[in-house]
Symmetry: C2
């Protein structure tokens, strides 16, 4: 195999980095912390975008576009928000370059200093609420349900491709409502959209829950999250949905006249997922041979590799593949015939395994004579020789079965590593082994912080739809009373 991948057992972190680069998903650029998303990686992201966008629109959300730049003064209107983002933002201070008078190439023109610096958006609540102020007068103008697909910048010190990059792509939904109840319901609705997408499209079993106050988005009254387990047992926050109360409406003075003629501040939500989902996809399903893509997100669902010696064998096999390809495409399956003439079949097999293509068909002269084809599944690496007849019915069913198989495998893995824990000694040991531990918590930020300081573990969420455990108990660390268990884990 041309592009060898570090095994997960040897070095999980290096395995991840290898997959990103060797499966042609992304690479580092010359700009610190900014990545290039390569065509194969971007094709997966485009599929994610397309499916999510349709899901959003079916809930009544519309897309719009708001400016990249945020005036510095906006940034500081919401106190918690600025505290959360000010330390890691790209600041535009000038609008012109010039030739260095001393001949040292191009320099920033000191005469082109901006009156007010502009921050490259790390998230858009402030600029969007400054706009919503113009859009809202009466209760008839509500709700506003907008989303934007865009790039954002957070000047992270330690970056990893997809998981944490200085610039990343995402969507951010921002809604405005007349009542707190309606806004809260929207935040809940959207986290369920994310969970539905994660489970049914990404084949990612996720736990939905509330963040503890410590882990909330800067400026939110409540943050809902979906948390996924990676193969090292660490947690990855895959999407969040925030109930923002009236914080931004008050900061930007967004009020409406209600049906009784009274002025009221508007209620807000925001919610987002990013190219981080690509990291989750890779880490949740990949194996030591490379990516394992759920069929719903695979840019190529079926790859066909001809096996031949002579040219006439080649053309006969490819002609047969062309016919199968047309039949499969008519059923909505995306197919590629790998007819490259300079590479051996074994090399091609390894390359498509590395790229996670769900199904591989191989056919040679003997198959052609016998009317058979070799069908290989990427997820369990099984192979089967079967009749070519009826293959166009078999493949779509096989893809469904692979989609389900990948989910079931991830769910079984997770379930085997989620456990209740009531002993602090046990906690310290197990959390390092990669477990989601369901523990009693006394509800204080202080205890949460102490546990984090000692073990790096954080409260991933207070679960609401799976692993819910509302029972009396005592905090695993402080021994104080608790009303239910929360999910602790070490996270990405």
């Amino acid at each position: 195999m041309a592009k060898e991948v570090t095994s997960r057992a040897d070095n999980y972190s290096q395995w991840y980095n290898d997959l990103v680069v060797k499966a042609d998903l992304a690479e580092q650029s010359a700009v610190r912390g900014c990545m290039v998303i390569k065509p194969y990686g971007y094709a997966i992201w485009e599929k994610m975008q397309g499916i999510l966008d349709g899901m959003f629109k079916r809930t009544g959300v519309q897309n719009a576009y708001f400016p990249l730049f945020i005036p510095k003064s906006f940034f500081s209107r919401e106190a918690e928000h600025v505290a959360g983002f000010a330390k890691e933002c790209a600041v535009v201070t000038h609008h012109r370059l010039m030739n260095d008078p001393d001949g040292n190439g191009v320099v920033v023109d000191p005469d082109a200093k901006l009156e007010e610096e502009l921050v490259v958006r790390p998230t858009s609540e402030t600029i969007i609420w400054s706009v919503y102020k113009n859009w809202v007068t009466s209760w008839r103008d509500l709700p506003i349900l907008c989303n934007q697909w865009c790039n954002v910048v957070r000047w992270e010190m330690r970056t990893r491709p997809f998981l944490r990059t200085a610039e990343f792509l995402w969507q951010e939904g921002h809604t405005a409502h007349a009542t707190a109840e309606e806004a809260q319901a929207k935040a809940v609705e959207m986290v369920h959209v994310y969970a539905d997408f994660a489970r049914n499209v990404m084949a990612l079993p996720v736990i939905i829950g509330h963040k503890s106050p410590n882990e909330r988005f800067a400026g939110a009254l409540d943050t809902l999250t979906i948390e996924a387990m990676m193969q090292d047992g660490k947690a990855l926050q895959a999407g969040t949905s925030h109930f923002l109360g009236q914080n931004f409406a008050k900061s930007f003075d967004v009020q409406y006249t209600d049906k009784e003629g009274q002025q009221q501040y508007v209620w807000a939500t925001s919610w987002g997922v990013s190219t981080r989902l690509m990291g989750a996809l890779i880490m949740a399903h990949g194996d030591d041979n490379g990516l394992v893509l759920p069929p719903a997100l695979a840019p190529i669902q079926v790859v066909m590799v001809p096996i031949y010696r002579a040219e006439e064998e080649r053309s006969a096999v490819i002609a047969k593949f062309e016919a199968v390809k047309a039949a499969l495409e008519a059923k909505g399956v995306s197919v590629k015939i790998d007819d490259r003439d300079t590479l051996r079949p074994g090399f091609k097999f390894a390359e498509w395994e590395l790229k996670g293509v769900p199904v591989r068909l191989a056919m040679g002269a003997r198959d052609l004579a016998a009317g058979t084809v070799e069908v290989a599944r990427r997820d369990d690496l099984s192979k089967e020789t079967m009749p070519l007849e009826g293959i166009e019915e078999h493949i779509p069913a096989l893809l469904d079965s692979i989609q389900k198989g990948i989910y079931d495998k991830a769910a079984a893995f997770r379930d085997s590593r989620v456990e209740k824990c009531d002993s602090w000694e046990e906690f310290k040991e197990k959390i390092q082994q990669g477990r989601f531990l369901l523990c009693h918590w006394d509800g204080t930020a202080e205890t949460e912080q102490k546990i984090k300081d000692e073990t790096k573990a954080t409260i991933r969420c207070i679960p609401v739809d799976s692993y819910v455990c509302e029972e009396e108990g005592v905090d695993i660390y402080s021994g104080k009373p608790s009303k239910g268990r929360v999910v602790f884990a070490i996270s990405y």
Copy 2:
């Protein structure tokens, strides 16, 4: 009518601005020169994107994503390129804000100065060619056919919504080839994709041609353009495709080993269209009642307005509309029933006219009894009462006819204002009246500049597929020999 629009005759420029705002397409933001694209405007842009993206992919192009930021030093590697963009770019110099020690809110942290300033991309040739260097070793790695949909920033001093904004959305294709011929052919292919899109989707008759050297993209050996005429007779450059020679390959040392084992520099193209197309769409087709959208780009193709007095009339009409809507949607037509109860039909009519919806259906109790419906066309404002039966066949055909009608009208208008001109006195007069003048040109930048200085007119293109006029003559200004006519106009 609630939202009155300035007439074109009174003030064409104000008419345009009115349409942008009052049809809910876009608005100014708090950031100088940056606009907010509102949901209705963005829905049109999304349709443009979707159709263009499909056209690109059918030519073998793949999408990817490259960083927003470009190191300042990259920017200066290609001499002409830096000259073209350095004067109008946003420069990131710091990566952190802090609380002002003097208590004046938030300030830039002087300790967080970047070692090397970053330029917010005005276009991505430099960063992309720094990446292509890693992708290219041998002739087998070529061609590279990448496109990205993204935002770019050019610090324009005078901005107008969609036409010229500091930040705008666009796509930029960047291809790398083994030979000059192949790159040139790609540049030609892509300008024809743009022309096809402009003509058949935007209903915009465009002239394809080469730019004169003066008007070329900074760093290009040849720039192909599509030029459209607006209703004031001015030209709008709607898309460009550049043959970049080996300039960027040499600046970033991108070489490949050819089949003979020799090292060769790679040949490049780039090509782009932007949200400027929105401006072209508005200005080419709109009238004094508002937008006129070609059906191929209308987010809503058919709007249905019920006419009623009593509630039972309302529900009966809406029930009938629902049935028609379902039948039309099954044929791929996008339909909205305007069932708002607080607005009069006349108000709704005006609003949907303003928003350019191609077809309006109105139905009242009398229509219901008679089995008829009133069908109004947006393009020519004609109305017709016709049988409801068979309406689901009639509407798709009507939409096709409107699409063609809008194109034909724009083409007839343009043809009436394109003329040959051989007299300098006549040129000066007619160019101010809004004409495309086909004139002889001696081929020198000097003459071109003098004509521009005296009249503001520029060479829009040396046409290649329509209005081609290769005949001997004398330059309209200098009197020197010329080998053919070029298109002069005043442009946006």
